[in-house]
Amino acid sequence: MSVQKKGWRDLPTGGLILEAGSSHTYKTGGWRTYRPVHNPQKCINCLACWIYCPDSSVIVTDGKFVGFDLDHCKGCGVCAYECPKKVRAITMTEEAEEAKD
């Protein structure tokens, strides 16, 4: 969902944000240089990635990893780092390469 941005006459002054949860509609995925790619064959659903993700971008349903929220993932790579060494179900790949698909 794209947000229609207001001009200076219509914005609240002082940088105030009047509504709650605006970070949901504010997409920060465009900052990403490296994209996390998940391998379901290797994943053991320990959910370390979900615990450590600083942007709440690991989507989990019924205790299972189901995907990344790429609208908000900034590509920091913490998920790949925290994935157990014996598992390594997440690899960071060039965003530019992934975005071609």
Binding site: W8, L11, T13, G15, L16, I17
Partner: protein, 306 residues
């Protein structure tokens, strides 16, 4: 420290700060000059300068109204000269609490911090897609502060008997030789203007009260007809072409028909005395400029040992 000032204005907080102007180290010095406030002139604060204790007091009361005005909501610095005003004994009139309370009136925040039923986010990050809009709002508020300052200065006069504008002109209407300054030294200039007027010399003074927002058009109208103008800067902007006040005054006059030559005197740094003889020297220079044109060095230090 410095960015705090920008945060106050950027968050549109009507904070009032009494700024007792002083020199900045190094070398260590806390005596009067305007280096502190002038260094903060781009921080988005309204700046009112005071000649004496009475003006500092009156400006402070008006500052609350100006800052809290719904069109403005900007912080205000009320500047007074360190030691010369802050540590001297002068006669002044204190007002009773109730009339001042009535003059100021209640403050109504647009979005009170403690309004738990309508919570908002204060001070969020503001990136490339919004920041300039918020700065544009600040520029507008500063522009709207102009008429508000005039309106409140007039109302203060009607209520308490002392009116205030952007500046005070002394013997200015027909003045040919004009000194523009701000702060306590303007009292010294005024007394020399009296001496010169008694001798038939058309000297005048423009004492600036409102430096931010800078009343460029009003100043140009007030001194555009003079034959020579000297600006007094009690701070330097090292490496700039002249002190902060000079840059603004000269810019206000630039491009006007028959604009007078404008020269700058950087004086009184670190609390160095600025006396009657210094003012006479400046008016002598202005007379010389009228006869022989502006000197090559339009910006010079005075009250300094060579």
């Amino acid at each position: 420290m410095w960015e705090r000032l920008y945060i106050a204005s950027g968050n549109r907080l009507p904070i009032i700060m009494t700024t007792v102007n002083r020199a900045l180290s190094a070398p260590i010095n806390i005596h009067c000059d305007h280096s502190d406030a002038m260094g903060a002139r781009d921080a988005g604060w309204i700046q009112l300068y005071s000649e004496n204790a009475q003006e500092a007091y009156d400006n402070l009361i008006q500052a609350v109204r100006i800052a809290e005005h719904r069109d403005v909501r900007l912080p205000v610095m009320v500047c007074m000269d360190g030691f010369i005003i802050s540590h001297s004994i002068e006669r002044m009139e204190m007002l009773d609490d109730m009339p001042v309370r009535n003059f100021i009136g209640p403050f109504k925040a647009n979005y009170p911090l403690l309004d738990i039923n309508n919570p908002v986010t204060y001070g969020p990050i503001d990136l490339q897609d919004y920041y300039i809009e918020h700065k544009r709002q600040q520029a507008e508020a500063m522009k709207l502060a102009g008429p508000v300052i005039l309106e409140i200065g007039k109302e203060f006069g009607e209520t308490f008997g002392r009116s205030y504008g952007f500046f005070e002109g002394y013997m200015l209407d027909d003045a040919e030789l004009v000194i523009v300054g701000l702060g306590s030294s303007t009292g010294t200039v005024r007394s020399v203007v009296d001496e010169l007027r008694a001798k038939g010399i058309a000297a005048g003074l423009l004492k600036l009260r409102t430096f931010r927002p800078f009343p460029a058009h009003e100043i140009a109208a007030a001194i555009g007809g003079a034959k020579a103008v000297a600006v007094l800067d009690r701070s330097d902007s090292f490496g700039a072409y002249g002190g902060p006040l000079f840059s603004e005054v000269r810019s206000a006059l630039f491009g006007k028909n028959d604009a007078p030559p404008v020269v700058d005197y950087i004086y009184g740094l670190g609390g160095r005395d600025f006396g009657i003889a210094d003012v006479h020297g400046i008016f002598d220079d202005l007379q010389d400029i009228v006869q022989n044109g502006a000197p090559e060095d339009e910006v010079q230090y005075i009250t300094v040992r060579e």
